[in-house]
């Protein structure tokens, strides 16, 4: 389509940049400046994807296809559609934020820290752009290494337990993914994911493959009950690690379901949709209560992430129930689009809001070196500017209309009603639970009299932190007020996906 290998450059630029960073170990300032330049250039290049994107087609765009390991029919095959492109832009923006967030905070081995994030960025972009299953799997696994290192080296006191738990959990999932991909290659004769979409499978085959995909991606999302690695990983991770974990890593799980499970095994997805719907609703309600009981800021936000990701999986899998609902006589077909696009918007929006929430916790942690909610109180008195932004993000987290947090939840709840009243009923409890755990936290941390001397001595955010949070606030507001441009790029891909999953492979 384009001769300019934009996707390859997007993947390689940060990886090479990260490699170069490792050379300037001693010079922290140079390392930071280089990291900033590389991440900003990558971000600007990724905007070309949006500008050059043709939203009228579901075909893969910016395609690059080379033979790689011919013996096994493995290719270097890249391309993006309406699902992966927004997620790639989310990745590049998040990385810039992480670099800026670590600017002064990371004094210990700054070059390696920045390098890890840049390399991770390249690998995550690879995950979203890969159209060859082995290439995808390679990126999917490789991106764990820098993340593992970030938590293990720059993490908190209990980082070893957290990293091992994180690694085992995700590795446990990936094994199933690999088996499923190899099996599909035998059926399809190639490793192209697009060929996988067209391969015909019996229901039994589909169910096994579907379960393998579900385990692999459910761990990443994470879905109840394989979610317990996330709070531990977040608590131990440095701020930048938490941001990437929440903003991107979780999305890879949702993306995986979209790219693999739904189109490759549509009949199994339909047969087992009750399982995913059930787990999603548990994530929303059960985890909402769990979040209420947290005394650690990062754990609270981690649990809130799980609950929000519940909307993604719910949106993806209610489609079959909406199609089957005979009570819908008007606007047929809109419910399914609402559900899938709602799930996508929820992913993008959660990426920004969770990043902002973790950055806000980082602001507090850098000053007080504690994440215990009870150590705070009355922060509004000493940090008014920060409080204004933090309350805004809290409201966005609680799904306030006008912020991006509302759009996805609104769409999924509207769609869930068309599947079953009770799905919508349970999903809508997030209005109460989400507000309860978020605003109760706000009350205990920000409002009230100054709790102790340390809170009294807090310095308000500096211009670097202001830049970070304010730019996120603008993004969150813009998506909330005008989500149409974001949705436009997805329409063709969503329509195609709906076509794929409503046509039985049997």
């Amino acid at each position: 389509m384009m001769d300019f290998p934009l996707l390859s450059i997007l993947i390689l630029l940060p990886i090479i940049g990260g490699g170069l960073l490792l050379l300037c170990k001693q010079n922290h300032l140079l390392a930071r400046q280089l990291a900033l330049i590389v991440s900003v250039v990558t971000m600007l290049l990724s905007f070309l994807l949006y500008i050059g994107f043709d939203s009228t087609t579901h075909q893969m765009q910016f395609v690059e296809r080379l033979s790689w390991i011919a013996t096994f029919n493995i290719e270097y095959y890249l391309g993006v559609d309406g699902f992966s492109m927004p997620l790639m832009i989310l990745t590049t923006i998040s990385t810039v934020l992480v670099v800026i967030a670590g600017w002064q905070v990371i004094q210990d081995r700054a070059a390696q820290y920045m390098a890890a994030f840049l390399i991770m960025e390249g690998l995550m972009l690879g995950v979203f752009a890969a159209l060859d299953a082995i290439l995808f799997y390679l990126f999917f696994e490789a991106m764990l290494i820098p993340l593992f290192l970030v938590i293990g080296i720059w993490g908190g006191p209990n980082r070893v337990y957290a990293t091992i738990k994180f690694f085992l959990y995700t590795f446990f999932g990936s094994v199933f993914l690999l088996i499923a991909l190899l099996y599909l290659q035998f059926q399809a004769g190639s490793f192209s994911i697009l060929d996988f979409h067209d391969v015909s499978l019996t229901l039994t085959q589909q169910i096994w493959i579907f379960l393998a995909f579900l385990i692999a991606f459910a761990v990443k999302i994470p879905m109840w009950p394989v979610h317990t690695w996330l709070p531990d990983a977040h608590v131990e991770a440095p701020t930048g690690g938490s941001v990437i974990l929440a903003a991107i890593t979780l999305k890879i799980g949702g993306y995986g379901l979209l790219r693999f499970a739904l189109p490759i095994t549509p009949d199994a997805s339909m047969t087992l949709d009750w399982l995913v719907i059930g787990l999603s609703l548990i994530a929303i309600v059960y985890i909402g209560f769990v979040a209420l009981a947290q005394s650690d800021l990062k754990k609270l936000i981690a649990y809130s992430s799980i609950a929000h990701m519940g909307f993604v999986t719910l949106g993806l899998f209610i489609v079959f129930r909406i199609t089957a609902n005979e009570a819908i006589t008007i606007g047929i077909g809109n419910g399914q689009v609402l559900a899938i696009e709602g799930a996508m918007v929820q992913m993008i929006s959660h990426g920004f809001i969770a990043a902002a929430m973790f950055l806000s916790v980082g602001v507090l942690y850098d000053r007080m070196h504690t994440r215990e909610i009870s150590a705070y109180g009355g922060v509004a008195n000493s940090m008014p500017k920060f409080t204004a932004l933090a309350v805004f993000f809290a409201m966005a987290n609680a799904g306030l209309p006008g912020t991006s947090g509302f759009v996805g939840e609104f769409m999924v709840i509207l769609a869930a009603f068309q599947a079953n009243f009770w799905y919508a009923f349970l999903a809508a409890t997030t209005l109460i639970l989400g507000a309860a755990y978020t605003l109760w936290m706000v009350k205990r941390v920000f409002f009230g009299e100054i709790a102790n001397d340390e809170v009294a001595k807090l310095q308000d955010i500096n211009s670097r932190e202001m830049l970070l949070l304010a730019s996120l606030a603008v993004i969150v507001l813009v998506i909330g007020i005008w989500p149409d441009p974001l949705l436009n790029v997805m329409h063709a891909s969503v329509d195609n996906l709906l076509l794929q999953i409503t046509q039985s492979k049997l």
């Binding site: 059960y286 009981a293 509004a380 209309p401 006008g402 009603f417």
Partner: protein, 590 residues
């Protein structure tokens, strides 16, 4: 204006499949009345705030909040679709949250704002489900398209539990009304409004009396083309409204905080509006909303003036005899009070009598209960209103003067009082047009069998007033006034005696019927307990303890056993080999 409805989209918020959700505005008669109320009261409150908040640290923050509120409220009333309605609905809730917690150091204020937001969210929960139902069955979120679909939807049913088919319109109506119950503080979602008095007084006037709390009333009136199809939903609204009107009025009788008395009065008056909605007298409800906005904003701002004069004293037991020190505040308060109790010729008289007459005409289930409730409510309203007036402005001086006598507030505070007193008297004269005319015909639809406001019953203003003088409500109001005078001016020792004799009743009222205690224990405590249980037992013990770490331990155990087996000694391996061969042999031979 030629009376035509303005309805235009501004931009497309999202396009999903064939569904287009737009941001757009619709201005018809109903919106126009709401905009008049919102902008006028907002202006008065802005002016008043210049004086009232003059010495506060958050002076500019306060103005930015109330401007944001005015924006949100206008978005709510001017919306032409459900998404935008929900936007405005939640946005006013957030500003209310910010303003109740304006003095964020006060523990009571930040408790109250969290409570207000969460209780409202309970309402919004129902509201959002209602919107989802509207979308599913009408295929649109645009008001006009939904209203056009209403006749089709009216015949449909929906199954919720088992196989019982519910009327779709009843379900939609009740779900949407749950939202109104939160925002307009109807029992049992009323609990946040009295506590919201922790916010600065201008806010109590603007948000928690005149405008935001009436959003639910406005919404139901706006949805009249849907509600007309469900008598069950209307009955539900009627009964909830009647309960609120009567029982919240009782609570006003025993409050000692000047703002809380007025807050309970607001709850009770919102109940009257809801009752009017329930009997399909939408225009009477909006008319009462309209008049109430002026006199209740007036009463709150006057209360603020008193609080200012007494250096932030709010306890009416420590007031009294303020009439001569605060003449403007007193006379405007008197006008507001008379308007509130429905004294003939003042604004509240017209709107309240219109509601009572409508309830009298109505035949839908619950209307006879509602009639009793609103009748007794008139007496109670008059009693608590004059109790307040007498305790604050008349009788003995019980206040602490701080060395110098209290003095009247500055002009920026008193002028809004005067400007609000004018419509508190005159707004009622619009009754012929607003209630019995066809002013709202473009916005509100009423089915012939529900019509309780027929123009045939209305014989001009003079006729309405003379008729009012001969009917029970007027005499009930007078009885309330006289009782208040007797109890609080003539024999001020009586109330304490009554309280002692009726201790059990007083306890019930003091505990506000136990709603707060129940919510604290069951909902707040229950949620925290459930969270603790899920977190400690579910996540830590079952998932992490048993499955995750259990799996790790199992792997560890197996590897320990395996390690022991690979000892490196040749005779161990030889021994195992012999055992193995022996086992295989027995297996094959035997």
């Amino acid at each position: 204006m030629d009376g035509a409805t303005y309805n235009q989209a501004v931009y497309q918020w999202m396009q999903v499949g064939s569904l287009s959700i737009e941001v757009g505005f619709m201005v018809d008669s109903l919106t126009a009345v709401m905009m008049t109320v919102v902008t006028f009261v907002s202006l008065m409150v802005h002016i008043y705030t210049i004086g009232y908040m003059h010495d506060d640290d958050g002076y500019s923050r306060f103005f930015s909040y109330i401007s944001l509120f005015t924006f949100s409220m206008l978005m709510l009333v001017m919306a032409n679709n459900f998404m935008q309605l929900f936007f405005g609905w939640e946005a006013v809730g957030v500003v209310s949250y910010l303003l109740i917690g304006f003095w964020y150091k006060k523990p009571t204020a930040i408790y109250a704002n969290l409570k207000a937001f969460l209780v409202n969210r309970v309402g919004d929960f129902g509201f959002l489900l209602g919107i989802a139902a509207v979308l599913m069955y009408s295929g649109s979120l645009d008001y006009l398209e939904v209203f056009n679909q209403a006749p089709v939807m009216a015949g449909q049913t929906i199954t919720l539990f088992g196989n019982h088919a519910w009327s779709l319109m009843t379900v939609i109506g009740i779900l949407l009304f749950i939202g109104a119950m939160g925002k307009s503080a109807q029992v049992p979602l009323h609990v946040w409004l009295p506590d919201s008095m922790e916010g600065p007084t201008p806010i109590s006037a603007l948000i928690h009396a005149a405008t935001m709390v009436t959003a639910g009333i406005f919404m139901v009136a706006r949805m009249s083309p849907l509600y007309e199809y469900s008598e069950t939903a209307l009955s539900f609204i009627l009964v909830i409204g009647a309960i609120t009107a009567l029982f919240m009025g009782f609570l006003g009788l025993i409050q000692n905080d000047i703002k809380r008395v007025i807050a309970y009065s607001t709850l009770s008056q919102l109940g009257y509006m809801t009752v009017a909605l329930g009997v399909s007298a939408y225009s009477a409800a909006i008319f009462h909303l309209f008049t109430h906005a002026f006199f209740k904003a007036l009463l709150f701002l006057a209360a603020g003036s008193v609080i200012l004069a007494l250096h932030h004293q709010q306890d009416i037991r420590k007031m009294g005899g303020l009439k001569k020190y605060l003449p403007i505040t007193y006379w405007t308060s008197l006008i507001g009070t008379l308007a509130l109790i429905g004294f003939p010729g003042l604004a509240g008289f017209f709107s309240k009598d219109a509601i009572i007459m409508a309830v009298h005409e109505s035949t839908i289930p619950g209307s006879s209960f509602a009639l009793w409730a609103v009748m007794i409510g008139v007496f109670v309203t008059s009693l608590y209103s004059f109790r307040l007036l007498f305790l604050v402005f008349h009788g003995k001086e019980r206040f602490d003067a701080h060395g110098h006598p209290p003095h009247e507030s500055p002009g920026v505070v008193t002028w809004p009082l005067i400007l609000l007193a004018i419509p508190s008297v005159l707004a009622g004269y619009l009754i012929g047009t607003l209630v019995y005319g066809n002013f709202f015909s473009d916005a509100i639809s009423v089915m012939p069998q529900h019509d309780v406001l027929s123009a045939a019953n209305y014989h001009g203003l003079i006729g309405f007033i003379t008729h009012g003088l001969l009917t029970a409500p007027f005499w009930l109001a007078m009885a309330g006034l006289v009782t208040a005078w007797y109890l609080y001016l003539k024999r001020p020792d009586f109330p304490a005696k009554i309280q002692q004799r009726m201790m059990w009743l007083w306890q019930i009222l003091e505990n506000k019927y136990g709603f707060d205690a129940f919510n604290d224990k069951v909902f707040a405590g229950g949620s925290r307990g459930l969270g603790w249980l899920f977190s400690r037992v579910g996540d830590r013990v079952l998932i992490d303890g048993l499955v995750v770490n259990g799996a790790a331990r199992t792997v560890g155990l197996i590897s320990r056993v395996g390690r022991k087996m690979q000892s490196g000694y040749l005779y161990h391996y030889a021994f195992v080999m012999i055992i193995g061969v022996w086992l295989l042999l027995t297996w094959f031979v035997v």
